[in-house]
């Protein structure tokens, strides 16, 4: 294999590694926005998910647990729980108490980053300075679940079978969400709630229930992204500086994907590539730090083009960010 194609392969692997957390963050936010709830608290929920997921794996091992599979399941569950709690607060305030979505989402971002950081710090202090899981467990989170024979195939081996379990779970989730939104009756109702809640309500859809479920489940999914980041990229150590910004990128990706789950797969890998491109591909005339703002610039351009073209199927859900008051119909 030539050196050049090897470098490309490494770049793709790194792009996928960095894209997977974004994939979860984006999928969760798509679900929430499809129901008309612009939850700007993704950053906070990903922090909570990251801290709680790490905590689950850490204390599981501390209590003598050795099963890697169980550790992954626990981390997934607690990360989901962390995000779901955050999203539940947001839902209660915006859906039941009708508070402004932007402001509530930002409050959740502040609260969630604080809570995640607090849990991370707390674990560090109580465990005597360093939260570390065993190398075995780290490997379970980071390495591919496929047998070595498959991974060692030339080129396609690493490309198809060389990623962490979370990529494959994420793809299953993406396809599932795509089918749910576009092929199922409940998905249709959910989209109706996001486009025109009054119409959905008149058609007998329980708007409040759909909004709650979409936002809370979406928040949980987003939070898993935080956990995946901490357990793979940050190698199982609480690192809030590295994690920060991830949630906002997910919000950007939702726009970039035009609110379609399937786009999120390649979109997140592309963003993952943009995030690490500066380490792999040095172009003398573009400084590293300017490389890093590429994802945001790209999002802005997409945002402008979608508004320019004004085609109906590439717009945000029509009632995105707006509250629904049945009494004010």
């Amino acid at each position: 294999m030539s050196v050049n194609s090897n470098a490309v392969l490494l770049l793709i692997m790194a792009a996928v590694l960095n894209g997977v957390p974004l994939l979860y963050g984006t999928l969760g936010e798509i679900l929430s926005e499809k129901a008309g709830n612009l939850n700007l608290g993704v950053e906070g929920m990903m922090f909570m998910g990251g801290a709680m997921g790490l905590g689950a794996a850490f204390y599981f091992e501390g209590a003598g647990g050795t099963s890697g599979v169980l550790a992954v399941i626990l981390a997934l569950f607690f990360a989901f729980l962390g995000g779901a709690i955050g999203a539940l607060i947001y839902s209660f305030l915006t859906i039941t108490l009708r508070a402004n979505q932007n402001v509530t989402g930002l409050a959740l971002a502040i609260f969630g980053t604080g809570a995640g950081q607090f849990i991370g710090e707390y674990m560090r202090v109580t465990s005597g300075g360093y939260v570390a899981v065993s190398n075995n467990l780290k490997a379970v989170f980071l390495n591919s679940p496929f047998p070595a024979a498959l991974q060692e195939l030339p080129v396609v081996g690493p490309l198809l079978f060389g990623h962490s379990i979370f990529l494959y779970l994420g793809i299953v989730l993406t396809v599932g969400m795509h089918l749910f939104l576009n092929k199922s009756k409940a998905g249709l109702s959910l989209r109706a709630v996001g486009e025109s809640p009054a119409t959905a309500d008149a058609a007998g859809v329980n708007v409040t229930r759909y909004k709650y479920l979409a936002t809370v489940i979406g928040g949980g999914i987003s939070a898993i992204g935080g956990m995946v980041y901490i357990m793979t990229i940050a190698s199982c150590v609480w690192n809030h500086e590295a994690l920060s910004g991830e949630g906002w990128l997910a919000v950007a990706l939702v726009i970039f994907c035009l609110w379609r789950p399937l786009n999120a797969i390649w979109g997140s890998i592309l963003f993952g590539a943009l995030m690490i491109l500066y380490q792999r591909l040095h172009l003398g005339f573009i400084p590293d730090e300017l490389y890093k703002i590429l994802p945001y610039v790209v999002t802005v351009i997409v945002l402008i083009f979608t508004s320019l073209r004004n085609s109906k199927d590439k717009q945000p859900p029509n009632s995105l960010g707006l509250p629904y008051f049945r009494e004010e119909r």
């Binding site: 930002l106 502040i110 609260f111 950081q117 607090f118 710090e121 950007a252 300017l290 945001y296 508004s307």
Partner: protein
Amino acid sequence: MHESHTPLIRLAKRDGMPKGQVWAIRGASFLAAILISALIFLLMGHNPFGAFGTMVGGSLGKPTAIRQTVKIAVPLLGTALAIAPCFKMRFWNIGAEGQITAGAVGASYFALFWADKLPGPMLLVVMAVAGAICGGLWALVPAFFKAKWGTNETLFTLMMNYIMIGVVKWLQGGPWEGRPGSQIIPQFDSAAVLPKVLGVHCGWIIVLILTVAMFFYMKYTKQGYEIAVIGESENTARYAGMNVGRIIMRTMFLSGAIAGLVGFIVASGADNTLYSGVAAGVGFTAITVAWLAQLNPFAMVGISVLLAVLDKGADTLQTQLSVPASISDIITGIFLFCMLGCEFFINYRLILRGGHKEVAES
């Protein structure tokens, strides 16, 4: 209508709740926030009274503590004032973070490269103007696209934050770097540092003047009136012959300019240098300040001081009780949640089933 079909609790809009009751509800939400925070302290094994005592003592107990609290409150208040006209117009500018940073960049340019060419007071004025213009121009970009093609401003302004912060990171490690490899921009010349009044940089005077000015601008000027009309209904504004696009751009420029001025105040008065964390989340927190104050400039003073007290108090908690400093974000979040939630009980009335006679519905 069958009784069983009416939901257990119904809502009705209510207006004109007596002032006393409004404040009773707000007071109750405040108490609720304190109780929830106390619960968290209890769970952590600290005496809640002791913890709150430490917070209040640490933020308001000594003159030096008060000065630091004021220093935290100044950018919060200034930025909340910047956001107010946009939110009044229902233009969701969540890009104050970037506009503050842009303003700081503009001001820093003159602080770094013109300090020896301009006389002292003149330098500060030029820095302030440069900060305001840079912040305003940075805000004008999303406003232009909103006015022209209806591009979603919430997401646009959000992205602009990270672009500007990235630019500062580049400046820090590139063209404006001090000692090579340090990734730090050198300290400003003393002529480029805001003078102190009563021990705090004089930014506090600037934002207090701005508070009064913004109150009059929103309440008594033609432009303030136009903003309010657009906020109520864009169509009404159009029928009345207002050039909505132009007003959106003008208001956003003003908003960004004030945020940029805050960037100048922070860089010159507090940090004495420029770094990528110059806004430090203030752009986001200030949105909640503006909203909770219901866009009333005078109420913003109170709320930003409250949040500053929480912030500084949590800092003291960390040093004295070794509680992680992130507790300040948690407690701030709890206060915001409670205060956001309580508005519901001011604006709506709950009607229990069978409690009132059914009003004919069509």
